[in-house]
């Protein structure tokens, strides 16, 4: 297993939290302040957890993810989107009952005709439109990332910048 890292990036109010490798948060006091400042941003729209490269996630991290969803719900925001292609990670989320608080999707790729290959129940068009926008922001970030124009910052580093 690869040692874990958590990276964050934002684009037009969409925060992407990308987890890679074997993610373990032993000290999460600073993560709490990150959550607060994230919701405090005037243009905050939503959160995407990108778990495509996550191999394992410890219970502390899962608890913090849940916290983000709960805080967002209290402020009338959409449930965060979780992108997970790894069956083990998806199984973990489902066993924890996290389907109720996240929109778990397999893929962030938006097909050209605007249809999303999402495994989600029927929802009204309005919500879908929001989700499209959010996922598009995620893809934009990812593409930028590949071209090295903007890199995801290590979470710890972004926390330090907020001190």
């Amino acid at each position: 297993m690869k040692p874990g890292s958590i990276k964050v990036a934002q684009h037009e109010g969409v925060f992407v939290i990308k987890m890679e490798g074997d993610v373990r948060l032993t000290l999460c006091l600073s993560f709490d302040s990150f959550i607060e400042s994230m919701f405090g941003q005037s243009d905050f729209k939503s959160v995407v957890f990108d778990l495509t490269d996550a191999e394992a996630i410890d219970s502390t991290t899962l608890g913090l993810m849940a916290k983000i969803s709960i805080n967002g719900k209290a402020k009338q925001f959409e449930d965060p989107i979780v992108i997970s292609r790894n069956p083990s990670i998806t199984r973990l989320l489902v066993t924890m009952g996290f389907e109720d608080i996240f929109q778990i999707v397999r893929d962030a790729d938006i097909a050209l005709d605007g249809e999303l290959p999402l495994e989600i129940e029927q929802e009204d068009a309005d919500e879908n439109a929001v989700r499209d926008k959010v996922l598009e922001a995620h893809r934009t970030l990812m593409n930028l990332n590949e071209n090295n124009k903007i890199t995801f910052k290590e979470l710890v580093q972004s926390l330090e910048e907020q001190q």
Partner: protein, 399 residues
């Protein structure tokens, strides 16, 4: 590093040379004391330790080399620069062997070379002193840390003793059903906890919980949790009727969930709760974010129970679904519940394969808890990466 204002001792029997050196050094910002021979220089420096000594080698009476040796005996590190006439190669080699910092050849044509040599020797000397200071401070800090660790370890062990006193007695039987457990903590204290009780002389209730995090904080939560559960059983008279048996596992979880959130302990926990009717062998159970799911072993096959549910301590108004399963009444069965720490020590590298691996081992292994731990090679771990709890319930005839 400003080296101005440092006191230097300059020794030379040749007054003109000595005074011109002293004048130049004073212009460069040093304080200079002059002596004309080795003997009086030695007397003077014992009372007024300088930062550096600059001495001619060839002098009547106590010469430079004798002076150097005497200084070395008195202070091993005081920088000494020697000046010698040309052709005294042997003297120079001897001086360096006795620890002179540098040597210069007379006549000194460029005084700046001398100043540079002095500055370099002073700097080196200060580094050595500083290094020694750092080392002393580090050694002191290290000693203090070791002491702190000893204190912490003592505290951990005391906490561990308290926690193990609160665990139920191992290897007991209720109404023909045996219960046994083992907890392998990753530190001295564990966030894993089991408890069970026999209610109304008919219902065997048990739970295994895993509090997020490790160490003292998690262990305290387990201790506190036990009190809540026990109190709930006392006050609510739970599981003493068929209705309560069918329903109250979920009520118990809802109550604990509310208590944990209200207490703001900042920890959450996964949990598996089961109640077995020892008359009918029907089991009601609830899964609260718990992985791996318990394994039911019967007829030489191990199968995971079904179920899912949210962990405790995160969602204010979470609900849990009570599941039901009929355990074999006439045949032997055993039910094995693990905390998720076991997953970390299984060879495969993803959850689904780990679950399969665990099921295969348990299908082949139906012995005691110790046998199961041996088959999973949990006993041979020096330090488990996470707490591992194993709870085993079976109806085997006690030998």
């Amino acid at each position: 590093m400003s080296q101005s204002g440092r006191r230097l001792l300059v020794i030379d029997d040749d007054t003109i040379v000595r005074q011109s050196i002293a004048a130049y050094l004073e212009d460069s910002g040093f304080l200079v004391h002059q002596e004309a021979d080795g003997h009086s220089a030695l007397t003077w420096l014992m009372d007024n330790p300088p930062c550096l000594v600059l001495t001619d080698l060839r002098m009547p009476g106590t010469d430079g080399l004798t002076l150097l040796k005497a200084i070395r005996e008195w202070d091993v590190e005081l920088p000494v620069i020697v000046i010698s006439g040309a052709g005294a190669v042997h003297d120079v080699a001897e001086a360096l062997r006795h620890g002179a910092s540098d040597y210069l050849v007379k006549p000194i044509v460029d005084m700046e070379v001398l100043v540079h040599s002095i500055r370099r020797a002073l700097e080196r000397h200060e580094l050595i002193i500083e290094n020694r200071q750092y080392r002393l401070e580090l050694e002191k800090a290290n000693k203090e840390l070791k002491e702190y660790i000893r204190v912490l370890e003592r505290d951990q062990l005391a906490g561990r003793r308290v926690q193990s006193k609160l665990l139920p007695p191992p290897a007991v039987s209720f109404g023909g059903i045996n219960v046994d457990y083992k907890i392998i903590p990753s530190l001295y204290l564990s966030g894993d906890f089991v408890d069970y009780g026999f209610l109304s002389n008919r219902y065997l209730a048990f739970y295994l919980t895993d509090v997020s995090g490790h160490g003292a904080a998690s262990a305290f939560v387990t201790v506190w949790l036990k009190q809540i559960v026990r109190r709930f059983f006392r006050e609510q008279e739970i599981f003493n009727t068929k209705d309560s048996f069918e329903r109250d596992t979920a009520s118990l979880l809802k109550l604990i969930n509310k208590e944990v959130i209200r207490s703001k302990v900042g920890a959450h926990m996964t949990c598996f709760v089961g109640v077995i009717d020892t008359h009918t062998h029907e089991m009601r159970y609830v899964v609260a974010g718990h992985l791996p799911l318990p394994l039911l072993i019967a007829n030489g096959r191990a199968e995971y129970l079904e179920g899912k549910g949210k962990p405790l301590g995160i969602f204010e108004d979470a609900e849990w679904e009570v599941q039901s399963i009929q355990l074999p009444l006439q045949q032997q069965f055993s039910l094995v519940v693990f905390s998720d720490g076991v997953l970390e020590v299984l060879p495969p590298d993803n959850l689904i394969e780990k679950e399969n691996y665990l099921r295969n081992i348990l299908s082949k292994q139906q012995g005691s808890i110790e046998d199961i731990c041996a088959a999973l090679q949990i006993n041979s771990l020096d330090a488990a990466p996470d707490d591992i709890a194993v709870l085993k319930i079976d109806n085997e005839m006690l030998k």
